[in-house]
Amino acid sequence: MTVRVLVADDQAPFRRAARSVLGAAADFQLVGEATSGEEAVALVDSLRPDLVLMDIKMAGIGGIEAARSISAAYPETMTILLSTYREEDLPLEARACGAAAYLHKSDLGGGRLRELWERRR
């Protein structure tokens, strides 16, 4: 099975890096990119990805609120929260927004994604 992935981040350097990681992982496929929480919610609605890589800190509703909306509307879609913060610096809502996991952005890689995806199933 190929896991269809949406990347939501307002930072172009990270979106480029995520594109490279997903391009090199045969079992993952990038299906869309969003630059805000609102856009991520809209793209989940239209693209129905299996997995959303969601940056926490974005303009507008931000990643946590977007993850909450996605989890409520599409519980079958897995969301992984991303940021450059240490896990202990995350706001409490990050743990209760319906996201399946948290990943420090610098740890993004095919192997790590596969591990999180398999653990979820």
């Binding site: 350097p13 990270f14 890096a17 450059t84 610098s106």
Partner: protein, 241 residues
């Protein structure tokens, strides 16, 4: 150009030596203004820390994160896909360049290296060359002053130049002057642009911050303008030499 608005600090060259003692109400007003000014200085320092955190997060940190991700990937691709690894190395080189540029810009904004090393005259000259609107700078004869004085005058001039670039309109030019005269460092940033009506214009956070910084050093800020006749921001601060 008539002066329509001014903000005075504790120090002024026009002060009258036989000025009558201030009344109790005037003193209370002054105390209140000092309290407000101190609170604004603290708020401005906090805002600056937030700006630096944001700039680091949105700038260098994002490039470094992308570098970390791509370096892991390039290690993985080195044997299996050398062409892909080579393409990725070009992306890594770009992220390194952008990260360096981002850090350089941030460091420059915090304290320009030229101001630290060479003083106000050269730093103002560089700021004039980099300004969005054509700017002439006259500050060559300036000596060195204490860092807090140089930084305050520099950032006041920079803020005034940025205001001129934002509000003076197309075709406007600016003129920056700084000079030392009898224990006082003066500066003036003037443009020949659209001007404004001071009586009906609210002073922005930038100008308020300039006024507070100068006031904290015993200086003062004066803003004057007329619609259609440009704007002038000038200041004076006492310097102990």
């Amino acid at each position: 150009m008539a002066e329509r608005a001014s903000i005075d600090g504790d120090f002024g060259e026009d002060s009258d030596p036989v000025e009558p003692e201030p009344s109790c109400d005037e003193l209370l007003l002054e105390v209140e203004e000092l309290r407000a000014s101190r609170a604004r200085v603290v708020a401005a320092a906090d805002a600056e820390r937030r700006r630096i955190e944001r700039d680091l997060h949105d700038g260098a940190q994002q490039h470094l994160v992308a570098l970390a991700v791509n370096l892991q990937l390039v290690r993985q691709l080195a044997d299996s896909d050398p062409a892909g690894a080579k393409t990725l190395l070009e992306e890594i080189a770009r992220d390194v360049r952008e990260a360096l540029e981002s850090v350089r810009e941030l460091a420059h904004g915090i304290y320009p290296p030229l101001l630290l090393d060479r003083g106000l005259a050269e730093a103002l000259g560089a700021a004039g060359s980099a300004a969005v609107i054509p700017t002439r700078v006259e500050a060559a004869a300036l000596d060195r002053f204490p860092p807090e004085i140089e930084a305050t005058v520099y950032f006041c001039c920079l803020e005034a130049l940025q205001n001129a670039a934002r509000h003076a309109g197309a075709g406007a030019r600016a003129h920056v002057r700084a000079w030392h005269d009898q224990g006082t460092l003066h500066f003036e940033v003037e443009d020949d642009g659209a001007g404004f009506e001071p009586a009906t214009t609210t002073m922005g956070a930038g100008l308020t911050g300039m006024s507070d910084r100068l006031g904290a050093l015993g200086g003062r800020l004066t803003i004057s303008s007329e619609p259609g006749r440009g704007a002038r921001v000038s200041g004076a601060v006492p310097v102990a030499r």
